[in-house]
Amino acid sequence: MNEALELLANPWIHGFVFGAVIVTALMSVTAYITWFERKFAARLHSRMGPTMVGPKGLLQPIADGLKMIQKEDIVPRDADRLLFNAAPAITLFFALAVAAVIPFSPGLLASNLDIGVLYALAVSGLMGFPVWVGAWASNNKYALFGGMRAVAQAISYEIPMVLSALVPVVLAGSLSIGQIVEYQIEHGWFAFWPPGPGIFAFVLFMLTALAEGNRIPFDIPEAESELVAGPTTEYTGIKFGLFASAEYIHSLLASALGAALFLGGWDGPFGIPVFWMLLKTCMLFVGVTWIRWTLLRFRSDQLMALCWVYLVPGALGLLLITGLYVHVRG
């Protein structure tokens, strides 16, 4: 036993084991998130949702996965084969890579980076580009349209997202997510304490996370009614599945990041820390899903206007107020 623990202390083995655990867990959780979202949306629509496969449709994600794998893998004749095939995998890679720095409990994280916040935002921001590569490689006008919109949106919304994530960084005085959580356990959650900038930064962060994850009301890259399926128009089978799961994982991890940065992470009144972290993540994800199935979509220019006219100045103002607060506090 001790030998095993010693083995885990080796950073390479530690990273490998935790990486394997987190990726496996995330992929299966993502599958069941689709089940949850379908049931949830069905309740909003006064429908039943999946009922036929397994009890209460619980085996539906497995059936979906099998279907995805079975489907014919079509590569358009004039597509750039290499990029077309690589894009879904790269997208999923970037989506999963964020998980490395999410602290689920004091000890349970793959890598306690000193610059965890920076790493998470940078990697999740990169997710837009393999999508664009795939869209360009499909040689389809709708896909190209969607890809261009995706890049424009990713670039624009990256700025308010980073600025709003800087608020807890400034307050805690650290870029490490673990230290930010510990600071919150000591001084109170940033969403509520100090009152003022924290809650606004939290709302801003979740809003931009919605936009980064291409979720309604910000799903203009995909925009089924306009662009058929946006960047993924030409993708079939498991490649499309990879894109879809990357999107879900992105939303899920953005919720987890929001929980860690603003809602005190694993902090809770009793019980094991992991439970509280997962509970907060799930609550945020339900909120995101609820918004998705309630609102209509913005137009692309309105989306950009919202970002550059309201969100970026607002985030800058928040950061300024936070800086003043920290300065006064000393």
Binding site: E226, L296, S300
Partner: protein
């Protein structure tokens, strides 16, 4: 030979086109030969579109005056124009319809619609069929509102043959037409939500809610006629199915429930995202709407107070005090508002009339026993009625070589055809997202456009 007096207008330069909504008098000759197949015309060529003063009370999103027959060589784009074929297989064309968009970035420069993918030759087919056989075929034209289709064609036959419709049938037809209007507008609202919100989002929620209520109306019709979609309940001289026991109460229950939920839909119009997506988008001014022959909610949303149910009453519309809703803006929001208000008015009328159904027969002609029982006299009639989409006209020619019970020529003047004809005028200057919203707000049914 009378030709419109052509004012000596200067040829339009690209710079003039770029100025916001300046009235443009364009001469066809300046746009180059666009008429490959038309015969040459002697004398000066009249202007394609008359000069028009823009409305000031609404905010058009256009950057230049739309020109349906714009010569693309006169347009100066920053880069190459992108040609995007929207359809024939596309989630938001509401059927099989194709619009070729010429895009400058995301702005539409020119839109060329290509209907005809759903052409089934209904008019030709009608020349071989009797009136009673035509009804179920006409059902499939506007498959969203089959009741009003049947009424339009049967009224034309009644008019030509001089058949009087009993009072009870006229009341019943009015009730059916108004209930059908509610169902049709509900389907429009649902699909419009899909256009604005996508298949994986809030739009679907709206779609499902509207379908939930539309199902109730279909149940109502099934109870009456035995069919959910294509009813075949109207015939020359009246209706084929009388009201079953308990049907009026069922109608009151159904429409009462829908009426309560309409408040939620009206509230939705004020939602910031819905307003942002629809206000000032796709403005059709009153002159253009009239000239293009737009009718129904599209015309009323452009500020023209015109409704055949009130202005030329047929059925039992003369018996009720019909309120007509008019909006001035002419944009997608106004069209939504007009349709939702119309639903409420239709519900009110249906509930009044079903309570006052007079007793008596529902059909003045005997059931069809043999071929040739209904003789069509020679002559031509035009009958137009107000369907959920506007004026659905039937031009019926009897006699001729078909000296029997089938029409010599039957022409259907469909409101959706004119609604689609507006596309080249309103799409230019909008973005691709707006184009989808505009297409949805026009509420075309392709089965009716192509026939």
């Amino acid at each position: 030979m009378a030709v419109a007096e052509t004012p000596p207008a200067a040829p339009v330069t690209p710079a003039a086109q770029a100025t916001p909504i300046a009235p443009v008098t364009q001469v066809a000759a300046s746009t180059g030969p666009l008429v490959p197949s038309g015969p040459p015309r002697d004398g000066p060529i009249p202007p394609i579109r008359a000069a028009r003063t823009p409305r000031t009370d609404c905010k058009p999103t256009k950057a230049f005056v739309p020109e349906p027959h714009l010569d693309l060589s006169t347009y100066e784009a920053d880069a190459d124009l992108m040609t995007l074929s929207l359809g024939p297989q596309h989630p938001s064309t509401h059927g099989v319809f194709r619009v070729v968009l010429y895009l400058d970035g995301e702005q539409i420069v020119k839109a060329v619609p290509y209907p005809g993918y759903l052409h089934r030759g209904v008019e030709k087919l009608c020349e071989k069929l009797m009136a009673s056989n035509i009804t179920p075929i006409i059902d499939k034209n506007d498959y969203v509102a089959p009741m009003t289709n049947e009424q339009a064609v049967n009224m034309a036959f009644e008019s030509l043959m001089g058949v009087e419709v009993p009072v009870r049938a006229r009341y019943l037809r009015t009730v059916l037409a108004e209930t059908q209007r509610v169902a049709s507008h509900l389907l429009w609202l649902g699909t419009f939500g899909m256009d604005l919100g996508g298949a994986l989002g809030g739009g679907t929620s709206l779609f499902m809610w509207c379908f939930r209520e539309r199902e109730l109306i279909l149940d109502l019709f099934e109870n009456l006629t035995g069919c959910r979609f294509h009813y075949n309940t109207h015939t020359v001289g009246g209706n084929r199915h009388d009201v079953p026991a308990g049907w009026p109460e069922m109608l009151h229950r159904t429409l009462g429930a829908i009426d309560e939920r309409l408040d939620q839909y009206l509230g939705m119009l004020e939602h910031p995202i819905f307003s942002a997506r629809t206000k000032g988008v796709g403005v059709i001014d009153a002159d253009l709407a009239l000239e293009l022959g737009l009718t129904g909610p599209l015309l009323r949303a452009s500020g023209v107070d015109h409704d055949l149910r009130r202005d030329a009453p047929y059925h039992a519309y003369a018996e009720v005090d019909l309120k007509v809703f008019v909006e001035d803006a002419g944009d997608c929001w106004a069209r939504s508002k007009v349709r939702i208000e119309e639903m409420r008015e239709s519900i009110r009328i249906s509930r009044i009339l079903v309570d006052n159904l007079p007793p008596g027969p529902i059909c003045s002609t005997k059931p069809l026993k043999m071929v040739g029982q209904h003789k069509l006299p020679p002559g031509q009639v035009y009958v137009g009625i107000e369907t959920p989409r506007g004026e659905l006209g039937t031009w019926l020619i009897g006699g001729g070589a078909n000296k029997g019970s089938s029409p010599y020529r039957l022409k259907i003047r469909s409101p959706s055809l004119h609604a689609c004809a507006v596309i080249p005028y309103v799409l230019p200057g909008c973005s691709l997202s707006d184009a989808i919203a505009i297409l949805g707000s026009l509420d075309p049914v392709m089965g009716e456009v192509d026939r």
